[in-house]
Amino acid sequence: MLKRVKNAGGRIGKIALLIFAGTFSPEAAQSSPAPVLDLSAYRGKVIYLDFWASWCAPCLQSFPWMNEIQRTFGRQGLTVIAVNVDRDGNMARQFLRGKIPEFKIVYDPDGAIAKQYDLKDMPTTFLIGQDGKIRYVHSGFYLNRESQYVSHIRELLNEVR
């Protein structure tokens, strides 16, 4: 649900607290896991990080739309990254055969990235701003909420850094 903006804010708060606690606790600093998905190459861009699977119908419905927003907003700095969580990678590759996604696909068959982002739903999209922080979390994909999704993207793209 889009109202999970609060959630994202809360999560940032928790991460901030952990980092803060980490500076005072050498053990904590050692045990904080290195990010499984390295997004450092995309700092300064707005990242549309989407988790999908071949068995998830709403995920597949979002594919043409994700192509469209990558095409439309790519020049303005939007990067769509679709993380596939199929435990059987062949299912994903079978689905992608014959289709030409215009965005990057990352394979996460063991669910390590999904676990790190602590998905609560399928699909889930994390809108990461130019500052590298998670700004919006979209739980589920609804065809008739596309205008709301686009307004979030525009907002993050228009931020001045």
């Binding site: 119908a57 043409p64 739309w65 609804y142 008739n144 686009v150």
Partner: protein, 475 residues
């Protein structure tokens, strides 16, 4: 004509199950079709906010061929169901079902070592004096002795006989039934699912209307679902010749009461749990109350001589007007990889003294590609209703309630069969099913008298049926 008491209510069960069952069918969509459908959406990032274009549609069809042994009931039942899913997880379904039934059905009387003759009201529409051919299952039209004040149309009756040593069955009927059901559900605010539905069915002598409402809530990252459904049903029975006065002598004369009805409310509370990545468990509790006319207006009970066991007279049956039912249902489905095993258990009890246990096991074995074969077995056992009697005895006090309907007696029912299915194309699926169903019961109860000791008093069913199913997912 009703095959058994409340046969029109079969349709209620069918239709209610359909409406409720399709709520859970939102989740089995084909992958490529979902993508292809999305491709055909208006190609704009602003989307189609507010429009209610179905994101997927499905048409399910099936046909049943049912046949009982010894010339008993034979039925063909085609069904069609349309389901549409909306962009905000809405589900709409509309279904129709038709039923054509012929054959013989036990009338409740016990066998005798002499020929038995039964006379019942004539089922010719309008009651004209044209003769009904005796080819209608061995019945003949007879002229009844006129009684004062009787109109001419009532002077005809239908007579059929049963040879010695055979279970008395009424052969002369043929009935069609039509039903329709509709349902709608969607999430509402914080509630995962809210829905309602209705159904209607009609046959020559029975009508059933029902309405239902349901609610479901997901917890634990959608691993736990709690649900509640309420169903209200109203049935009307308008048998040929009118509604007989219970426990009076069987007669072909027209009865003064033309119809009787009953109402029923059922509540089902359910808990579904995804235990692991490939294990689903379901637990349901059902409670129902039914009030009104519960009798089968065509069924009789033999009253036999206390020494010889020969039938003296036939009386129309009588059941209590009130019935309370409860059941507990547990289902476990595990996908082991090579096969999916489904085991279910149901315990049922009602205020008529009937207790039953049902165990069902099926194993869907994956063969090559989408081809699968699924053997299944079902074991069912029930105890008799406390007013069930194979027969009554002349001279003994007449009980308040009595029925010889084998459906209320003690028996064990075993079903075994096989299903075979595969995907015909990317968006269609077909399956074939063949089943055998046999009821076994005590045909020689200890209380059999005289000639009844030599007869088989069990009237249960021995049937085979086949089904063809076809599903089509489209946009």
């Amino acid at each position: 004509m009703q095959l058994n008491s409340g046969n029109g209510a079969c349709l209620r069960q069918t239709l209610a199950t359909l409406s409720l069952g399709l709520l859970s069918a939102t989740l089995g969509e084909k992958t490529d079709r979902a993508y292809a459908q999305a491709q055909s959406q208006p190609d704009s990032p602003s989307g189609n906010s507010g429009q209610l274009i179905p994101t997927s549609k499905e048409l399910d069809s099936s046909i049943l061929f049912y046949q009982e042994a010894n010339g008993r009931v034979r039925a063909i039942e085609p069904a069609l169901q349309y389901t549409a899913h909306g962009p905000d997880s809405q589900t709409f379904n509309l279904g129709v079902i038709a039923d054509s039934v012929t054959g013989a059905t036990p009338n409740g009387a016990v066998p005798s070592d002499h020929t038995q003759t039964f006379v019942t009201p004539l089922k010719a529409p309008g009651g004209s004096s044209t003769t009904v051919t005796s080819a209608s299952g061995g019945s003949t039209v007879i002229h009844l002795p006129p009684t004062p004040g009787q109109i001419a149309a009532a002077a005809l009756g239908r007579q059929y006989t049963t040879p010695p040593g055979q279970l008395p069955v009424d052969r002369g009927f043929h009935d069609q039934r039509y039903g329709v059901n509709v349902g709608y559900s969607q999430p509402l605010g914080e509630i995962s699912l809210v829905g309602f539905g209705g159904s209607y069915s009609i046959e020559h002598d029975y009508q059933s209307i029902s309405a239902s409402a349901n609610i479901a809530q997901n917890f634990n990252l959608n691993n736990t679902t709690a649900s509640l459904a309420v169903n209200y049903e109203n049935d009307s029975s308008f048998p040929y010749g009118g509604v007989p006065t219970p426990l009076t002598v069987m007669t072909p004369q027209l009865k003064s009461v033309s119809s009787r009805g009953r109402s029923r409310i059922d509540i089902v509370a359910g808990l579904t749990e995804a235990m692991t990545t490939n294990w689903l468990v379901q637990l349901n509790y059902s409670y129902g109350i039914s009030d009104g006319y519960q009798n089968d207006p065509y069924l009789i009970v033999s009253v036999v001589d206390p020494v010889t066991g020969e039938p003296n007279v036939y009386l129309y049956e009588n059941r209590p007007t009130s019935r309370r039912l409860q059941s507990i249902y547990l289902d476990s489905k595990v996908d082991f990889g090579p096969s999916v095993t489904d085991v279910s258990f149901r315990y049922f009890m009602d205020s008529w003294g009937i207790k039953s246990t049902t165990v069902q096991v099926s194993d869907r074995v994956r063969l090559m590609g989408s081809l699968y074969v699924e053997p299944e077995i079902r074991w069912y056992q029930q105890s008799a209703a406390n007013f069930f009697h194979n027969f009554l005895v002349t001279g003994q006090p007449l009980p308040q309630y009595a029925s010889a309907d084998s459906r209320l007696g003690q028996f064990v029912g075993l079903t075994y069969g096989m299903k075979l299915g595969f995907d015909l194309t990317r968006s269609t699926e077909i399956y074939l099913r063949g089943e055998f169903y046999r009821q076994t019961g005590n045909g020689h109860p200890a209380d059999a008298i005289g000639q009844l000791k030599q007869q088989n008093l069990f009237a249960g069913v021995d049937a085979a049926y086949g089904m063809i199913g076809f599903s089509w997912n489209f946009d």
